[in-house]
Symmetry: C2
Subunit: 177 residues, 2 copies
DNA sequence: TGGGTCATGTCAGCGCCCGACATCGCACCC
DNA sequence: GGGTGCGATGTCGGGCGCTGACATGACCCA
């Protein structure tokens, strides 16, 4: 993973072969593909923990909490876990932003996050459509908040960015019609 | 495009080679790749018109309209254009749902739609963050509405599905905190 | 000492995708 | 009517992503 991030940063994702990543890590190309299902996946190792963390937060949220608040609280929690890794997040985000297929993979991970959040909400008794829309909104807030966070100075926290996006969303929907 | 949809439906996306699609269409594999940047793209030809239609609707929306209403109205307009092609949409959606990499590409197209909508809103004077969040929400409504539409009976229109999702979103954000 | 398991290496091969060049039909125009 | 250019297509070769099958070797355990 470290070898990949270095090489992708130095000369770009497409200009780096899987063989080169493997060689820098001291293994063969075949071994690389035993650990990562494809060349892009090496940049998305942490997504599993992110997902299970969010699902856990939703499952363990207090009763009588509104669905949208459950999801955004879970996102806040995830954001706090990511706060110490800001430099890594910035470097990784730059690599992802520079390549369409990596961006594509990131969207797939976010969509999986949304689906898992919706499923967890539904498991708490939230109706299907409400759960889906709340999860979609929460992930949107997380996504836009993440972009703002990595683009801002170090004094701005991820949690603050998420809070700002959520407020913006509330204002927009309140002004509807 | 027709050859691809047929073959992907019959035996699946991964079990079909680009060469086979090309041969059924009466051209060489090389010619296939001159028209489509990759094997998946053959299922996403219409996305360009969808995007320009949405951007046009946003740009031409009446002044003093709330951002979220502008976006959802644009989505409604797109939905009405897609209504006559319901059978095609259903077949295509089944193929996409059956393959992760096609789903991935669909998410990329929706993200491009969101980015274009945000840009169009921003061009109307809507502040950056508001434009981004409104576009994200509008695309979420479109996406969830689409899934409900293709899963429902023919008496339910795409526009109705979108309306229902939007209402759900409003209810959720209104119940926040 | 022998056997079992797990990680890794080796090798061959398929399919995606591309660059470079050849071919061919077709409009245009002197 | 015969060049002439151009756009679409075919041909060829090849790099790279990714996989199945088998071999090797380290380690643990009886």
């Amino acid at each position: 993973m470290q070898s990949a991030l270095e090489l992708f940063t130095e000369r770009g994702f497409e200009q780096t072969t899987a063989l080169e990543v493997a060689q820098r890590a001291g293994v063969t190309e075949r071994t690389f593909f035993r650990y990562f299902s494809d060349k892009r996946e090496v940049l998305f190792e942490g997504s599993g923990e992110l997902l299970s963390g969010v699902v856990g937060a939703i499952t363990g949220a207090p009763v009588n909490m509104a669905p949208i608040d459950i999801v955004t609280a879970a996102m806040q929690e995830a954001a706090e876990r990511m706060e110490p890794n800001r430099p890594y997040s910035i470097q990784r985000a730059a690599v992802v932003a520079a390549n369409a297929s990596l961006h594509e993979r990131e969207l797939l991970k976010l969509d999986a996050l949304s689906a898992a959040a919706a499923h967890a909400l539904h498991g708490r008794g939230v109706p299907e459509l409400a759960a889906t829309m709340a999860a979609e909104s929460g992930v949107s807030v997380f996504k836009v908040g993440f972009d703002t966070w990595v683009g801002a100075g170090p004094e701005v926290t991820f949690a603050q960015c998420i809070h700002a996006c959520l407020d913006e969303l509330k204002g927009l929907t309140a002004a509807a019609q």
